[in-house]
């Protein structure tokens, strides 16, 4: 039953049966005897001092078990939420790291900031009682816009950062870049807003904590992308608990997109409270709470310049970005607009000199952290909008200007710290142009004009860096965590296999992809392999899933463990076949003595390992169970070209995505159907950012104006076309699977492609995301007026 064909095969997702039949178990589905319910009282103000909190009325309300505030947590020695990445500024000073108490202490800093928790027998009792909590605020002026954060005399979010500056950080040789600009033939300059996004996973965040007096241990069910990291941060930094006394289980999780990476206040509070009241405590966010409290994404303000010679060769790039951190530093907030942004500014090009300066600011808004793509969509947007605009200004074909600047020799050291191992940018560009029928575009544009529509075409040739690595380099850049992954392969006596992985699946299909990898390597049927993830009590360790790292890093860890199983199996098989170990080969699920017809199947070796009657007990331990940790030597570098065609209705400004072509190089592909699904989702989110999604705060009051799906526009099926997809393959050179990662590409490449297409259709240079109908209409009106003038 050896099934080598599993690699590259569109195996149907094994997890879908339970998801589609309602048999999944999400955190809110878990019921524990005697469980109580938490409701978080949140700040209605963007910025205020708390003068007094009166608990008495709330405590007397029916069903109420406890009310806790920041003071109670402080008395319980609960520390603040940590930030996992230290950025050192250009001044050599560490970033400003203000305290981030799980419940506010003395001050609230954004609408939705947690002020207190009310715990009751039922959720509605907790919610009703919360209205009786008396909180007296002194409202302070608030600052919400990135552009306003550093204005002199404005409100300070934190006393330790009076100018709201978390850090000013830079990468690259500024004087060399300035010199190149001074003598350049042409300079293209653009200003960008990278719009703030709200993640909106289908499953809201949820946490259910219970405390066991018998052994002084805790169990936390939580909607998380990385339960081991959650446990480590919570025990070592916040609650001061012994790590081995806390079990964190992230069961089925309904989407994360980054928003479930972080250690959140609610997780900490319910865990701590479960011991205080000796009852399990459950909290599930309402959608309105998700809008207020899930870490948001993007929110950059950027000025960018590209210097070119007369032939359109890129000479240098200069980028200045101000990035919002929100009111507090979320778990990985600080590394997103720096390590995962500035390092990507070379894109697919040989630009020899790049300088990027990033100012991170605090504002009275929900914290901002990684959201699908995390830094890389922002970088790609800067590079690809600049490149396309430069081509238009220099009257060069946008594909041609890219070709003149493509990196063609690998490995390639960029001026912004990354070492690209492999790639073939010409291949993805050419394939995308063919698939998109770029040659026929002029005709389609004419036909559109006859229908009164403006048609435009835009490219984005993106690159991303996945699987942040290696740990020691990340550490030297400020990471406070390792970035390896762990896996365990447990072979049962019958030859069936359970794989334990530190990666976490919250929609990515790991239970299928990872099983394909293991079954194919072991030559056993896929149904003989189960994948277990998301439980610190069962999985040895893990760093979790984000940054498209699962297969490249987690998959490799599993593969290493499989190879250890095979190595041990060879020893057992050699003993059974009375052959030298060096003569034993393993293929298609069978151990063979080379050049003979002697063989034993994998299942027999497994049985022998557990029933070691005929077994070299003097030389070999019984059992067949192996662990592996894998720390990659480099990032992986997925890349590709997207071509978007839009049609604009000039009467209303509405934009329709007429076609969207994506040709990606993800290295080796294990399951093309799952890859296509990931690309579809990513593209839809990228198109959402370009056309629809925009998180808005009221400038004066700091209130969230887009606090529900009525006002915050998530993309829906009718906003996107049927995507044209293809892949090209240059295998990653430094992991054994040759894989690169595919989870974020769509969200990284799509916004620039869409905006390049719209600006092409309109014949304008600048247009801000999202390109709402009104913005497009105004751009057209303005262009008309300029023409008339």
């Amino acid at each position: 039953m050896g099934d080598m064909n599993l690699i590259g095969s569109a195996v149907k997702r094994r997890e879908d049966y339970r998801f589609l039949t309602g048999a999944g178990t999400y955190t809110d589905d878990v019921q524990i005897d005697r469980q109580s319910y938490a409701y978080f009282v949140r700040s209605p103000h963007a910025h205020a001092t708390i003068k007094r909190i009166g608990k008495d009325k709330a405590l007397k309300a029916p069903g109420v078990l406890a009310v806790f505030t920041g003071e109670d947590l402080a008395a319980g020695k609960v520390a603040g939420l940590p930030c996992g990445w230290l950025i050192t500024g250009v001044d050599g000073q560490p970033m400003k790291e203000p305290a981030h108490p799980p419940l506010a202490q003395g001050k609230v800093r954004h609408v939705g900031d947690q002020v207190a928790v009310v715990i009751a027998e039922t959720y509605l009792q907790a919610k009703d009682a919360a209205e009786l909590l008396e909180v007296d605020y002194d409202v302070l002026p608030a600052v919400v816009d990135v552009a306003d954060a550093r204005k002199k005399g404005g409100p300070a979010v934190h006393d330790i950062a009076p100018d709201n500056t978390c850090y000013v950080w830079a990468l690259g040789d500024k004087s060399a870049v300035d010199k190149a600009f001074a003598s350049a033939h042409h300079v293209t300059r653009l200003d960008f807003v990278n719009n703030r996004l709200v993640p909106n996973a289908v499953e809201p965040r949820a946490a259910l904590a219970s405390y066991n007096r018998a052994d002084d241990s805790y169990t936390l069910y939580v909607a998380s992308q990385n339960p081991h990291v959650e446990r480590l941060l919570m025990t070592a930094f916040v609650l001061g608990l012994p790590e081995h006394k806390v079990r964190v289980i992230a069961p089925d999780v309904g989407g994360g997109f980054g928003s479930k990476i972080y250690l959140y206040a609610e997780d900490v509070v319910v865990t701590w409270a479960s011991k205080q009241i000796n009852r399990p405590v459950k909290w599930t966010a309402e959608r309105s709470e998700s809008f207020l409290s899930d870490a948001h994404g993007r929110d950059h303000l950027t000025h960018a310049e590209l210097a070119l010679d007369k032939d359109g060769k890129f000479l240098a790039m200069r980028v200045q970005t101000t990035a919002s951190m929100g009111a507090y530093l979320s778990t990985f907030a600080s590394c997103i607009p720096t390590i995962l942004y500035a390092t990507l500014l070379a894109g697919q090009y040989t630009t020899p000199l790049i300088y990027c300066e990033v100012t991170a600011v605090f504002t009275n808004t929900t914290p901002v952290d990684a959201y699908r793509g995390a830094g890389r969509p922002e970088a790609t947007y800067v590079v690809e909008r600049l490149v396309e605009t430069a081509a238009r200004e220099m009257k060069l074909d946008p594909a041609e200007i890219r070709r003149r600047n493509f990196i063609r020799q690998f490995p390639y050291q960029t001026p912004v710290a990354l070492l690209y191992d492999t790639g073939n940018y010409e291949a993805t560009l050419s394939a995308a142009m063919d698939l998109a029928d770029v040659a026929g575009f002029a005709g389609r544009r004419r036909q559109a004009a006859e229908r009164g529509k403006l048609r435009g075409l835009g490219y984005a040739a993106y690159i991303e860096a996945c699987g942040i690595a290696p740990s020691n380099v990340a550490g030297s850049l400020g990471a406070r965590a390792g970035l390896f992954e762990a896996g365990e392969v447990r072979v049962h006596p019958t030859g069936k296999v359970t794989v334990f992985t530190g990666s976490h699946s919250h929609g990515q299909g790991h239970e299928t992809t990872f099983a394909q990898v293991v079954a194919s390597r072991l030559g056993i049927p896929i149904d003989d392999v189960d994948i277990v993830h998301g439980d610190t009590g069962r999985v040895l360790f893990g760093m979790g899933t984000y940054g498209s790292r699962s297969l490249a890093v987690g998959g490799t860890a599993i593969l290493k463990a499989v190879d250890k199983v095979i190595a041990k199996g060879k020893k057992i098989a050699a003993h059974l076949m009375e052959a030298a170990e060096t003569d034993v080969e393993f293929a298609d699920g069978v151990f063979k003595v080379a050049g003979t017809d002697k063989q034993v199947p994998f299942a027999q070796v497994a049985l022998t390992a557990y029933v070691p009657h005929n077994y070299p007990l003097d030389k070999l331990e019984p059992g067949l169970n192996e662990n592996a940790f894998y720390d990659p030597t480099n990032f992986t570098f997925p890349a590709g070209t997207y071509v978007c065609e839009v049609e604009v209705d000039p009467d209303t400004g509405s934009v329709e995505i007429a076609s969207f072509t994506a040709v990606d190089d993800f290295g080796k592909i294990i399951n093309p159907m799952i890859v296509a699904g990931q690309v579809h989702g990513g593209l839809t989110q990228g198109i959402g950012q370009a056309l629809l999604e925009n998180c808005r705060y009221d400038k004066a009051s700091g209130q969230l104006l887009t606090g529900s799906l009525l006002d915050y526009c998530m993309p829906r099926a009718d906003n996107v076309p049927s995507f044209k997809l293809d892949t090209k393959e240059t295998p990653c050179t430094h992991n054994p699977l040759g894989v690169k990662g595919c989870g974020e590409a769509g969200a990284i490449g799509a916004p620039a492609a869409v905006m390049n297409a719209i600006t092409d259709a309109l014949g304008v240079r600048d247009l801000e995301m999202p390109a709402t109908p009104e913005r497009v209409w105004r751009a057209l009106e303005q262009a008309k007026m300029q023409k008339a003038a």
Binding site: D651, L691, T772, E774
Partner: protein
């Protein structure tokens, strides 16, 4: 949602009696606005009087030149009705574009117009067709019915029983949807009937309103060109994060043109 008392009225008179006993009670029709507001704790009526069991309030009757639609008739029923499609296809089409399938199966015409949401579709149809709103107390012309944002001529205790639409020569509706909520940012209903041409706009102002200069232009020539050059003032129009008043004013002209096109295409 806060606790509340629930009453199922057996008849319109029963509902009126319940309302008179408890002036803070709210009528429950399809619940598509009220229940949502209650779930968010933005509305907290002590009592709901459910009209859902009153058979008299449901159904569509065609009678000569008039189409009468019971207040509790769902959007889906109107959208799917042969009588409506034959006599006033623009009204069936309007109903078919309200909200989503779930909203159309639950939401009712009476509930919609009683709420007078500035972005609802039905007010444009009711005002554009010059309909009559029949209540348990009187008959109200559409022109008298919509008074402002979430404000109608209905008095306390007054219950909409049905809406009577005169069958027009032709009519059309065009709307520009809010991409998030899919409510109308601007919706324009155009009708050429016995009383002349009527143009009614929803979404753009505090409540549905007519555009006399467009009506005049269309009365002399019922064609898209007739309204293409008519710009309405943005003064007093709604302005929010989704659309400024200037953009809404612009869209009124564009949607009016498209509504006329739709009316002509329908015959």
């Amino acid at each position: 949602m806060y606790p509340f008392d629930y009453q199922r009225a057996a008849s319109v008179a029963d509902a009126a009696a319940l309302l008179s006993r408890n002036p803070d009670a709210k009528l429950l029709a399809g619940g598509q606005t009220l229940v949502g507001a209650m779930k968010l704790r933005l509305a907290a009526p002590p009592q709901l009087v459910d009209l859902g069991a009153i058979a008299d309030l449901r159904g569509i009757k065609a009678d000569g030149g008039t189409l009468s639609i019971g207040a509790m008739t769902s959007h889906a029923e109107v959208a799917g009705s042969k009588d409506v499609k034959q006599r006033i296809p623009a009204l069936a089409s309007l109903a078919s574009t309200i909200g989503d399938r779930m909203v159309r199966n639950m939401g009712t015409i009476g509930g919609s117009i009683a709420n007078s949401d500035p972005a609802a579709d039905y007010p444009a149809g009711v005002l554009g067709l010059g309909a009559t709103v029949n209540t348990n107390k009187r008959k109200l012309a559409a022109d008298q019915f919509f008074k402002g944002m979430y404000e109608t001529a209905l008095e306390p205790g007054e219950i909409i029983v049905s809406v009577s639409f005169p069958v027009p020569k032709r009519a059309g509706y065009a709307k520009f949807k809010n991409p998030a909520s899919r409510y109308a940012i601007v919706g324009v209903f155009v009708c050429e009937g016995q009383g002349g041409v009527r143009v009614a706009v929803t979404g753009a102002g505090p409540s549905a309103f007519r555009v006399p200069e467009m009506e005049k232009a269309l009365a002399s020539k019922f064609s898209p060109d007739a309204v293409a050059g008519i710009k309405i003032s943005s003064s007093g129009l709604n302005s929010d994060i989704h659309a400024s008043s200037e953009y809404r004013a612009h869209l009124v002209t564009v949607m009016a043109k498209r509504a006329v096109q739709a009316a002509l295409a329908a015959g």
